[in-house]
Amino acid sequence: MRRVSLLRLIAVFTWTGFSSIGGGRSAYFHEALVRRRGWIRNDEFVQDFTLSQVLPGPNFSNLAVALGYRLAGLAGGVWGLLAIVLPGAVILVGATTLYLHGAFGGSATLLIRGLSAAVVGLVCMTTLRIVRGSLRGGRGILVAVVTFLAVGPLRLSTVGVVLVMAAVSLALHWAAPPPSASPAGSPSPEEIC
């Protein structure tokens, strides 16, 4: 059941939590667990990512729970969550104390503008890699494009879009499931990269 030891999981999740600054945090998990270490296959990552987006709750912690559970069961989920939330929370309380004493000026705002722009480049590249590894078939592409347009440019409510598009996608896939609908039918590493 356990793919990696708890200690390694805690170390990697803590480091991923630490290095994930500026937004687009799921990209760092993809880099650390799929691309670098190969602990998790791309299609497994997309499943957990989808779960973390569809379930209520902050998606970064949901993703840590789902990935941690996949890697090391119940303990993996619990420690994965603690590893990404606790260090950041302690640092944030420290930073908040400094902030409330007026320690930050305009330079922090300038720095975050550059960081946010750079993060857009990172998440763009990660999304492209994930799309190439797991999006196939006309129905899937159609659903992905419409979902993107609805929550992106059209700025519709995410909750409504998820409910409607999940129902539409289920109907489309239910009507004509592909002949080889085996859950293990996952892309090989060569297809992913």
Binding site: Y69, T158, A166
Partner: protein, 173 residues
């Protein structure tokens, strides 16, 4: 004491509104924390969100910032627990059962059907982030440079992001 309970309750139900990324819940959280309950000022709320972006961990740690501003360490603890604990338990329960369910036909279809929705949400998140962060030639150049650096697979993402961020800061200050 009553206000502490109110703080905990508010972040508990706000956590349930986070679907498909945290950015969507920010307007409602600002309304609750600033306008309705007066836990902090609008300026402090924006600065708090910036702080959560600059520090590691989920950006929904903004709950800890608001809780700390409102009621000190105890407020930070309760708001943080309310934001992360119940939804994490739910994610754990679903993850657990999904591994058993996914061998069945309906689950395999549901999984195939939900993946494109997740990918669409991911792309929508990139769009939203870009709309906020890319507003001139410099920020666009920083984004492209970072994407190219990450594409080479030779630069750790965090280094690429930090280098680009520092470059942008040096060029704009």
């Amino acid at each position: 004491m009553a206000d502490l309970a109110l703080l905990t309750w508010t972040f508990l139900w706000l956590s349930l509104l986070c679907v498909g990324g945290g950015l969507g819940v920010i307007p409602e959280m600002e309304r609750q924390s600033v306008t309705i309950h007066g836990w902090l000022t609008a300026r402090e709320f924006v600065d708090g969100y910036t702080l959560t972006q600059l520090t590691p961990g989920p950006n929904m740690l903004i709950a800890v910032f608001v809780g700390y501003r409102a009621h000190g360490a105890l407020g930070a603890l309760l708001a943080g627990l309310a934001m992360f604990l119940p939804t994490s338990v739910l994610a754990m329960v679903i993850s657990h059962h999904w591994q058993q369910w996914r061998t069945r036909r309906w689950a395999a279809i549901a999984e195939r059907a939900l993946i494109p929705v997740g990918i669409g949400l991911m792309a929508g998140g990139v769009y939203t982030l870009a709309r906020i962060a890319i507003h001139d030639a410099l920020t666009l150049a920083l984004a492209v440079l970072t994407a190219l650096a990450v594409a080479t697979d030779r630069v750790p993402p965090v280094l690429a992001v930090l280098a680009a961020g520092t470059l942008g800061w040096l060029l704009t200050r």
